[in-house]
């Protein structure tokens, strides 16, 4: 199996007095079509791990490889291209743009890959169909329910068919029914070979994943397959 994400000996310390060590010696491989939940109490470094994995933050120590390519020495523009082509993000607060409708929000996820506007729009419509929102194309976020908003966000993350989806508490703002739909949607992505890493507090999310990574004080304290 191919590793879509490899983190080797990564550490991250935020300067300040006293300095805060968010990650210590993290080593982790995520393979194609793998579904992993990252669990742990608040402040255990889960979000920092996700940001480091998503090239949104650089580790102070250790290396990160995305799709086999070492990203530690890449420039801002090259990192941006890696994010545009290989990664998809889903956030707890959805981060949809209020004045854009569903199709425009999803197409925004493809904007920085380039390509003609018409093709981006077609891919956005297709992605919304895949998350079951083909009937909500022209709706703005304010007219969508919380679950629908998160599905738009997932459509935005998968529209470019990236190898790895990184989700930060995707069900954190949703009721259990909407949350269950999101969990099924994320878990179903593996069928296309997409790997999914979900940072979560939600046991239902963890139960739907194949692998469970538990963090405490910036370290991985458990990493086990879920039977």
């Amino acid at each position: 199996m191919t590793a879509v994400l490899q983190i080797a000996g990564a550490g991250k310390t935020y300067p300040g007095s006293p300095p805060v060590t968010a990650l210590t010696d993290i080593t982790l491989d995520i393979h194609e079509a793998e579904r992993a939940a990252v669990l742990g109490p608040s402040g255990s470094g889960k979000s920092t791990l996700l940001h480091v994995a998503g090239t949104l933050e650089r580790p102070d120590r250790g290396g990160v490889r995305i799709g086999g390519r070492d990203v530690s020495a890449l420039s801002d523009a090259e990192l941006s291209r890696v994010r545009a082509r290989r990664l998809g993000f889903v956030f707890q607060q959805f981060h949809l743009i209020a004045h854009l409708d569903a199709v425009q929000n999803v197409a925004l996820g493809l904007l920085y890959r380039g390509g003609p506007a018409r093709a981006r729009r077609a891919a956005a419509v297709d992605a919304l169909d895949r998350v079951g929102l083909g009937h909500r194309l022209g709706h703005r976020p304010a007219r969508l329910s919380g679950g629908e908003r998160q599905r738009v966000a997932i459509a935005r993350a998968v529209a470019g068919r990236p190898g790895l989806i990184l989700a930060d508490e995707p069900t954190g703002n949703l009721d259990s029914v909407a949350g269950q739909q999101i969990i099924e949607l994320l878990a179903g992505l593996a069928a296309d070979g997409t790997a999914v890493v979900v940072v979560t507090h939600d046991p239902a999310v963890a139960a739907a994943m194949d692998r469970r990574i538990v963090m405490q004080d910036g370290r991985i304290v458990a990493d086990e397959a879920v039977s």
Partner: protein
């Protein structure tokens, strides 16, 4: 990621905040509007003036002045034919002031109610030299110049309450009735004609006892010879008393008056510049606030692959769009104000294209300057920190 996406994205963002967008543009719009209006009004006045001057400004006047001892020094009889012999003189005509004569509607009007109308003897060529025209009737000709016929200046006709010329239209002039044969249009270069009643030299001599002496001579010189002609005029007109001859260039007086009026142009342009500056600060301010408010959007854009440069460029484009909107609105306001002013003043409306282009250019430059700092802030924001907001 190409330019249309940036502009379209910025446009949608501004469209979603219409009131804020309008208020942000206002300062620039007012400033550019004031500047364009001032330039337009000034250009319209100048166009009007040039139309009045016949563009050349080659009219000279020679007037009777005073001798050294202060006594009046009338021009000699030969002054006009002598001036006509100066080679660069294209045309020349004389008027003679008839002293102590009043013009009234009828004999029943008391002599003290002269209405300030003076009586001038004029030659048939007067209008040709001055570039004037008749509003009604005809001007004096070789025939009517011999008889008690009078042509009224525009103001004189108004004062007397005469606005049309009929065969029986008469005025009471020096103890007898003169037939009004014509009414003149205003003559901007020689306003003294507007307030005069004109009779022929032969009639002035025979009926009013003028004696043929001119008091004012009007001449047109070849345009590039105006100064040399002006310098020889005193000696030609009155060789015995050249110092008692007053030579003037009415078009230069009008031009100086216009220049004095345009001194205000600088003041208003300065005020416009201040408004544009304040407008630019306003746009910069709103863009800084926008960067703070849209941290999550910045983080999201970075996460989906926007480079620092593109995020900064996006905010710069929005700032530019705001200032361009303000500039276009201001140019429209300025052009409309110019048109309204010109219509009310009866002038041709002229909006100088260079002024419009400069206004838009200043607006865009302001937008760039106002947008640089917010754009740099947006670009420098670390993506992880932006997403945590």
């Amino acid at each position: 990621m190409i330019a249309p996406d940036l502009v379209l994205g910025g446009w949608r963002g501004l469209g979603a905040r219409k009131l804020r967008t309008a208020l942000s543009c206002l300062g620039i719009a007012i400033g550019i509007g004031a500047a364009v209006a001032v330039l337009g009004i000034s250009a319209s006045s100048k166009a009007n003036l040039l139309a009045q001057l016949g563009a050349e400004g080659n009219l000279l006047t020679v007037g009777a002045g005073q001798a050294f001892d202060g006594s009046p020094a009338p021009l000699p009889l030969a002054a006009e034919p002598m001036i006509a012999r100066i080679p660069p003189v294209e045309s020349v005509t004389a008027t003679g002031y008839v002293p102590g004569v009043t013009v009234r509607r009828t004999a029943a009007v008391p002599a003290t109610d002269s209405g300030g109308i003076s009586v001038l003897a004029a030659q048939p060529g007067l209008l040709g030299t001055l570039g004037g025209g008749v509003a009604a009737g005809t001007f004096l000709n070789a025939a009517t110049a011999r008889y008690p016929a009078v042509v009224l200046g525009a103001v004189a006709a108004q004062t007397l309450g005469i606005d049309r010329v009929r065969p029986d239209t008469q005025v009471y002039l020096a103890g007898r009735y003169f037939t009004v044969v014509g009414i003149l249009r205003p003559v901007p270069l020689a306003p003294e004609i507007d307030e005069a009643a004109l009779v022929g030299f032969p009639a002035a001599d025979s009926l009013l006892g003028l004696g043929g002496r001119p008091t004012e001579i009007y001449l047109r010189a070849v345009p590039d010879q105006v100064q040399p002609v002006a310098s020889v005029l005193p000696f030609t007109a009155n060789p015995a008393q050249p110092e008692a001859v007053q030579v003037s260039l009415p078009s230069s007086i009008l031009a100086a008056r216009a220049a004095a009026r345009s001194a205000f142009t600088g003041l208003f342009l300065g005020l416009g510049a201040v408004a544009v500056l304040v407008g630019g600060v306003g746009i910069g301010n709103i863009m800084v606030i926008s960067v703070l408010e849209r941290r999550a959007e910045i983080g999201l854009r970075r996460a989906v692959g926007a480079t620092r440069w593109l995020v900064g460029l996006q905010f710069l484009v929005e700032s530019l769009l705001l200032s361009a909107l303000g500039g276009v609105a201001g140019a429209g306001i300025g052009a409309a104000a110019t048109a309204a002013y010109a219509a009310s003043a009866g002038q041709p409306a002229v909006v100088p294209p260079a002024g419009l282009a400069a206004g838009l250019g200043v607006a865009l430059l302001t937008g760039v300057l106002a947008g640089v700092y917010p754009a740099a802030r947006a670009a420098r924001l670390p993506p992880a920190e932006a997403l945590r907001a």
